[in-house]
């Protein structure tokens, strides 16, 4: 829509409280628009606050973007990412953070860094069938 960044935004949902949608209890509308152009990461910290696992996506996606796959990224917990994509949702600069993290995980596994045994079992959802009673 026109001058979208200056609209009061009664129906626009947002993690930051910058729209008037948080003030009035109206129904929010979900759109599949990009809602902004891709910009550089400004370390606003929304992804870090939104991450349910407590990672720093604003740090980890820089490693993937610049191709520095190594021990540091693994130590900072990239394999604990559960692919919930909340970091991409809240990103102010419209960076596909979760996509970059997933790419990073695939690159690391191709190079031979494997996650811990605990994390691997979590990611392959072993035991879910037993939990569901299906076995």
């Amino acid at each position: 829509d026109m001058v979208s960044f200056m609209q009061p935004g009664f129906e626009k949902d947002s993690y930051s409280n910058t729209f008037l949608s948080q003030v009035l209890p109206l129904k929010k509308r979900l759109v599949t628009n990009l809602n902004g152009e891709r910009r550089a990461c400004i370390a606003c910290g929304f992804c870090q606050e939104a991450c349910p696992v407590g990672l720093y996506p604003n740090l980890l996606h820089h490693y993937v973007e610049r191709g520095k796959m190594g021990e540091d990224v693994v130590q900072y917990g990239i394999f604990r990412c559960i692919d919930c994509n909340l970091c991409t949702y809240v990103c102010t600069s419209k960076i596909p953070v979760a996509h970059l993290l997933k790419q990073g995980k695939e690159q690391l596994m191709a190079e031979g860094f494997y996650p811990d045994v605990d994390m691997a079992s979590f990611q392959s959802l072993k035991g879910v069938d037993a939990y569901r009673g299906l076995q």
Binding site: S16, T18, F19, V31, T32, L34, N58
Partner: protein, 348 residues
């Protein structure tokens, strides 16, 4: 919807212009204009197909909104010179920013909107226009562009510009202060008067801005309101300004008991000088402050310590700018140490 249909020819024209081969160097300008007026029409291609409505233009727009009380107060106090200085800063810095965007063939990023307003608000109202333009261009060039543009700078570009002016034109920053609604140009600011005579002006004068000082720091009530607005909208993190102001309050309270000649009382220190402006708008700059939460506390407390020390024991009467620049240089180290400490037991 009607307006959009009426302006559809304009949008098509802008899109056509950005495709023209002979205007290839100016493609960025047309794309920026189209993005500002018409928004983005692309849709998401991958999970999580719904995205937050916040974008960088809105983010910077919120910072500009929170700076409006201070700006209007500066214009009300000083009139036409204030408007001239703000416009000169935007023009000079904007030229540098746009030139770099055109050369690098990238989008014009919105970080400059805030820098262009913060920088003139730290200057005295009698600054000559050419000094403002040189300082703004220097700040954007050496403070941001040489590091790689928005998001990659180490130092706050407005503070780099102000630092350059302080060192290159020292008479302007120390002797050219002017109180609102008067014509006398003096060198007496509340902090320098305290150093020489230990006299404190009335509290209401400091809060509402009837003393001398830089254009933006005068209307302290507006600064506090703007800062709280930024914290409520989550545009700035509350940890940095709260820890900065709390540490100044505590350190000044302790120091004034032992050395009242150099260290002023906590209440006076909080509302004098550029402390509120620096704490609310400059220390909170997300790019140059640490991103870890513990790092933000350390950053705020160290800035407070440095501010009290520089105000008390150095030749400069105002320590906020130097303390924030010093801590900007140390911010990556703080983050690195916190990360190494936090992940020390994780398997590499």
């Amino acid at each position: 919807m009607n307006i959009q249909k009426k302006l559809q020819p304009l949008q098509t024209k802008l899109q056509q212009l950005s495709e023209v081969e002979s205007l290839r160097p100016f493609k960025t300008l047309f794309e920026t204009a189209e993005g500002i007026i018409f928004g983005v029409r692309d849709v998401t291609a991958e999970a999580p197909h719904f995205l937050d409505h916040i974008e960088l233009k809105r983010y910077m727009g919120m910072v500009l909104l929170s700076l409006l009380p201070t700006t209007f107060a500066a214009i009300y106090f000083f009139g036409w010179p204030a408007i001239q200085i703000i416009v000169a800063s935007y023009v000079a810095g904007g030229l540098v920013e746009v030139t770099f965007a055109l050369i690098r063939n990238k989008d014009i990023e919105e970080g400059f909107l805030v820098t262009g307003l913060i920088f003139p608000l730290t200057l005295p109202p009698t600054t000559p226009l050419w000094v403002v333009m040189v300082g703004s261009a220097f700040g954007v060039f050496f403070g941001k562009e040489v590091f790689g543009g928005t998001g990659r700078n180490i130092f706050n570009p407005a503070l780099v510009g102000r630092l350059f002016i302080t060192i290159a034109f020292p008479q302007i920053m120390s002797t050219a202060w002017q109180a609102p609604f008067t014509d006398t140009v003096t060198s007496a600011t509340p902090l320098s008067v305290y150093k020489s005579a230990r006299a404190i002006p009335a509290i209401m004068d400091l809060v509402l801005g009837q003393t001398t000082g830089s254009m933006g720091e005068l209307f302290r009530l507006g600064i506090v309101v703007g800062g709280i607005f930024l914290m409520v909208t989550k545009v700035s993190n509350w940890r940095v300004p709260v820890s900065y102001l709390a540490s100044v309050f505590v350190l000044a309270g302790v120091g004034t008991i032992f050395m009242p000649a150099q260290i002023a009382g906590p209440g006076f220190q909080l509302i004098s000088g550029g402390l509120l402006f620096g704490a609310m708008f400059m220390a909170t700059d997300p790019v140059t402050s640490p991103f870890t939460n513990s790092g933000k506390y350390i950053f705020g407390i160290s800035c407070g310590l440095l501010t009290v020390l520089i105000r008390a024991f150095s030749g400069y009467t105002e320590g906020v700018m130097f303390s924030i620049i010093c801590m900007n240089a140390l911010a990556p180290l703080i983050d690195h140490s916190i990360l190494r400490f936090k992940y020390r037991t994780a398997k590499p």
